[in-house]
């Protein structure tokens, strides 16, 4: 129903902007309905303005800014409607060290209500995982899962 859509849209927009400002240390972002009159069909526009920069077309954002902006939206949606689990496949690849830290801090906070499955090559992100699974192909072409670290186990011989 259009009522439900408007309620979700407005709440998500609020969370999106809050989380964006936390990740970027300022700036502003949001979604806009292209046709306010027609809640049931209207498309959704999106804008994002990193701190100190002018508001521009989202296509001009850098690779890292783009990844962080969409991630802020996703966490904004989860704040409105928690998801039991979430799979992130190398979402941290375009991020610099400072933004990887902001990304991992945020998923750590959100992991109270959501189980995250995070695929990564980034050493810092690996360190923030509670459980770490290694996948190997000892036999060429055949994947095997080995578990390397459990909650509560220090970085002993596990890693």
């Amino acid at each position: 129903s259009s009522e439900k859509f408007r309620e979700a849209f407005e709440a998500i927009n609020l969370h999106f902007n809050e989380i964006f400002q936390k990740l970027f240390g300022g700036g502003e972002c949001g979604m806009r309905l292209l046709d306010e009159e027609d809640l049931l069909e209207s498309g959704v526009d999106i804008y994002a303005q990193p701190p100190g920069k002018k508001l521009q077309n989202v296509r001009l954002l850098s690779g890292g800014e783009e990844a962080l902006t969409v991630f802020a939206l996703l966490m904004g949606i989860f704040t409105y409607r928690p998801s039991r689990f979430c799979v992130l496949d190398e979402v941290d690849a375009p991020l610099d060290d400072a933004n990887v830290t902001r990304f991992t801090n945020l998923i750590q906070q959100m992991s109270e209500q959501t189980q995250f499955i995070v695929i990564t090559h980034n050493k810092h992100t690996m360190k923030t995982a509670n459980t770490l699974y290694g996948i190997t192909m000892e036999e060429a072409g055949v994947s095997q899962v080995v578990s390397v670290k459990f909650p509560g186990q220090e970085n002993g011989d596990g890693s």
């Binding site: 996703l74 799979v87 690996m126 923030t128 072409g141 994947s143």
Partner: protein, 171 residues
Amino acid sequence: LRLDRLEMTGFKSFADKTSVRFEEGISGIVGPNGCGKSNLADAIAWVLGSGTALSLRGEKMDDVIFSGTRTRRPSGVVEATLAFSRTDNEPIVLKETEFSGEVLEISRKLYRSGESVYTVNQRRCRLKDIHSVLEEAGLGFASYALIAQGKIGWFLRAKPVERRSVIEEAA
């Protein structure tokens, strides 16, 4: 409701029966290029019916069945199961069938012949039923919660109408 484990046999490069337990918090998946990390993520999307052939990087649906190596023959069938443990024990009723008990197991099987079978706790059902059972059980799952490799920028590049569908799923 929490995600307990993924089991799969013959899914892409996972030729042998593989089981992965998921704990609370953050589970990291690591390994060299080409070892099978994204295949594991594809298996989760495939069981939940949210992966089309295209988004699973194949051309046809049976590209998800283990296709063999230099030393192994291809598999004839693929099966993957997601097991959830329930925190509240209210029985879920679906089309006169009652699902009770601690665990909810969603499975999908596909034969080379093209026959595809979904089951919930070993009882056959349709994909639509899976979504309603998960909804009833409070999984609140949506396909936007699976971000495939290299696709994080999807929402910004999508058409305005496509973006709308994400908000509708969340509403």
